[in-house]
Symmetry: C2
Subunit: 131 residues, 2 copies
DNA sequence: TATTTGTACTATTTCAACTATTACAAATAT
DNA sequence: ATATTTGTAATAGTTGAAATAGTACAAATA
């Protein structure tokens, strides 16, 4: 598994780890029950402290995205969003609105933004309705 | 002008200020050349340090969203995105992809996400093509 | 039974965010 | 002119998250 950490991005390393694992799962590069790198492996590979990886795994588990077993390792969990629809809508819509504001100030027209949106969404395996 | 600061959100206060000003402009609540609250006014109203407001204004000016004149105040600037199209596309697309990943893990289907996207975009005055 | 694995804990360092205060130059009002 | 208001700059200090360093422990595995 390949990781790319950008120390100049301002984004905390443990969040970059989380981002990339979530992204790989969403793109189908990591599948259900697949084993993730061990905490110590990944810490060695990226050359950072094991605690930072542990923090990322801890939060991913809390979000229900991976399952960890002491002694065995960390594994991709089943999809199971325990958040209510209203909470999910609120979280996603806030982000979407922030993007719309940025698009306004960058003078991006509606059609172009929709095009970029489609390009982004098509990369991931979102279910279709009733799917 | 009304401001709402959430100290528990984890988002820095100066960014919350920026968010709300950018949002108000994008929604047409603040129009070109309109005067913003003074640094000291706003600091008093929100009960935070003037430096924090100054930081927000400084960055908004750097982004070309407002214009400031010492002695006069801060004003809404003309729309003028100096960023290249490729840079704008990269910035926006990265955010859109992050949302798509989150939507995947929340098991949000394509149609629903598009619907939420439309709801978000319609709130702001994005130009139409050639507009 | 020895090793590997995730977890927990404490201590320390680093840095961004924020506060507090003072000072200054440009714009404005009188 | 001159006093006031404005954004800006600078210094110093506080707070909290992020990350490092090291040790220890219990569960799973070989």
């Amino acid at each position: 598994m390949q990781f790319r950490i950008d120390n100049a991005s301002g984004r905390p390393v443990y969040q970059q780890i989380m981002d990339q694992i979530k992204r790989d799962i969403a793109m189908g590069r990591l599948i259900k029950n697949e084993k993730l790198p061990t905490v110590r492996q990944l810490a060695g590979q990226i050359a950072i402290n094991p605690n930072t990886i542990a923090k990322a795994y801890r939060q991913l588990e809390q979000q229900g995205i991976i399952v960890t077993k002491a002694g065995a390792g960390a594994f991709v969990a089943n999809l199971d969003s325990s958040l209510s629809r209203s909470v999910r809508k609120k979280l996603i819509s806030e982000e979407l609105e922030r993007i719309a504001v940025d698009a306004y100030h960058m003078q991006i027209d509606r059609q172009t933004l929709l095009e970029w949106f489609d390009n982004a969404v098509v990369k991931f395996n979102l279910p279709s309705k009733k799917g």
